[in-house]
Symmetry: C2
Amino acid sequence: MSGIAPGDVLGILGGGQLGRMIAVEAARLGLVVHVFNDDPRSPAFEVAARATHARFTDTEALAEFAGGCAVVTYEFENVPVAAAEIVERHALLRPGARALATAQDRLVEKTFVADLGIPVAPFRAVDDLPSLEAALADLGRPAILKTRRFGYDGKGQVVIREGDDASAALDAIAHAPAILEGFVPFSAEISVVAARGPDGGMAVYDPCENRHEGGILARTSVPAAISAQAADEARAIASRIAAALDYVGVLAVEMFLVREGGSERLVVNEMAPRVHNSGHWTDIGAATSQFEQHVRAVCGWPLGDTARRAPRVVMDNLVGEDAHRWREILSDASAHLTLYGKGEARAGRKMGHVTRLSGGR
Amino acid sequence: MSGIAPGDVLGILGGGQLGRMIAVEAARLGLVVHVFNDDPRSPAFEVAARATHARFTDTEALAEFAGGCAVVTYEFENVPVAAAEIVERHALLRPGARALATAQDRLVEKTFVADLGIPVAPFRAVDDLPSLEAALADLGRPAILKTRRFGYDGKGQVVIREGDDASAALDAIAHAPAILEGFVPFSAEISVVAARGPDGGMAVYDPCENRHEGGILARTSVPAAISAQAADEARAIASRIAAALDYVGVLAVEMFLVREGGSERLVVNEMAPRVHNSGHWTDIGAATSQFEQHVRAVCGWPLGDTARRAPRVVMDNLVGEDAHRWREILSDASAHLTLYGKGEARAGRKMGHVTRLSGGR
């Protein structure tokens, strides 16, 4: 059988902790990992067989990197689409440049999801003060102004409440192209991590429930405290999005759960065309981790079992100085610690995570 | 609190699959890994932040390597003791040179274990034909002639049966210094993997049962099909050996189970001062893998939980062309595959392993 095999080179664009965890699982499956990143101090470099330190605008470096890879993937959605397109000319890129382009722009992404008939928060494009004022008139307050591009971990967002100055909100996002989103009165934030293979086969993990603090994911709990019907619908939404993108790899879809008069409905918040922080619980919590699953998918290998290994799994992020508690965490027999090898525990920086399995809720 | 912390450098002498798996777990705990080995194509180099390719007789390279490490460990017991002693002058070496010296020589090892009052197979030192003939007269036939040094995976061993020529057996081991071991009529081969910290604390995994094929470990099953009493005794033996060596790190002790007239007794076969193939089942089969446990121990960190994650765990080695079955193994939802990144699937070469959890025996 032809195709990608152990011993082949898997390329990763980006070198953060997600790339690091993909690299480790790829090595475990016998692949040779080549990481490309623009930061010489990339956590993924430390566990990769090969490393290229170059800019994402360096056409030659990208072409040389891709030329040596059987397949290339990416670990963050802000890889420039131009760089992805260069890679695609020299190697298989999975997921492809289209998923990247869709996920990079909130307006494109929300339009894409809404066009599939999947509920999203009401939204309007905002380019300037007049369009913002018109959008506020349409959607009411509170509403959230978000930059179309380069937002993550709550960055590039500002809430506009009753009485707030619209032009100050535009200043806060530096007048970048934006969207205004209507407020969704959600009772829970959930996400679904799913993998899709090149043959269209899907493997979907149990929906998980996320708690954010200061815009940063703090805790993921699995299973989410939602009805079986809502869980099924969440899985179906992720599958429809993956299929519509002809997606290959692991994908995460964040959703709001809205409870109204005894019924539950889901509203898609955003998607990430990559392994995702809310999937870290799978490292020991599922039969196949999201990182291994991503490697299997992008290599065109059989997808792994997504079964949970325990009735309940909880993943806590270690943000900033949380990581200084490493010794205490190692003393907890129920804790499985992962640190990302980042030197400095700056405030708001994701330094590691802890996964715990338990018998019940 | 002083001591070794995430961000520090862990050195590994040796670069095979055991070093590779230690390196990955060390990185997961935030350590920077530096691998020292004499083979440029070392599986562990591919997942390590730093690599030194030099001979174990290169005093300068060893000193420079050790000088940059907070702690150094080894992944095979044939590291020259002289090299270990150089490292010990520049860094903490765990386990120490003494464990290495003891394990490297079957005569020293067996004498050490027997002196602890722990049963071993009857043995005699063999240096030449007269001493071999005297030993055969004492111990009877069949008996096993084993080189004192550099034996592994059944190499350097020859069985002497009724009618076999003693001098031909000496030729077969190239007249190397040897021991003759009396035959032990065992009904099972078991091993115990245990960790000991610098404070003397121990964490001992469940005894496992091993099946060898052609002198190479084929399958490890946990728990071993032995009485609770024998299992307790096996654990106690491993703990006594570790304590007597003032050992720090993971240690494996292989034992024979002998059934006689309804009772069971244990006879120590050999020990390995390192993580061990018969402990690979812990990768997904135990709360803490032996690789993580070894890192915790040599860093002086709290030892992890050794609890099994399932009623039954089975680990199968992939030897030689077995590894060509990787796609079939990936299709098995119950299988967790690890490949070592070795290029060529030579006969008798350990290429990877598969661990499976199941509900019962």
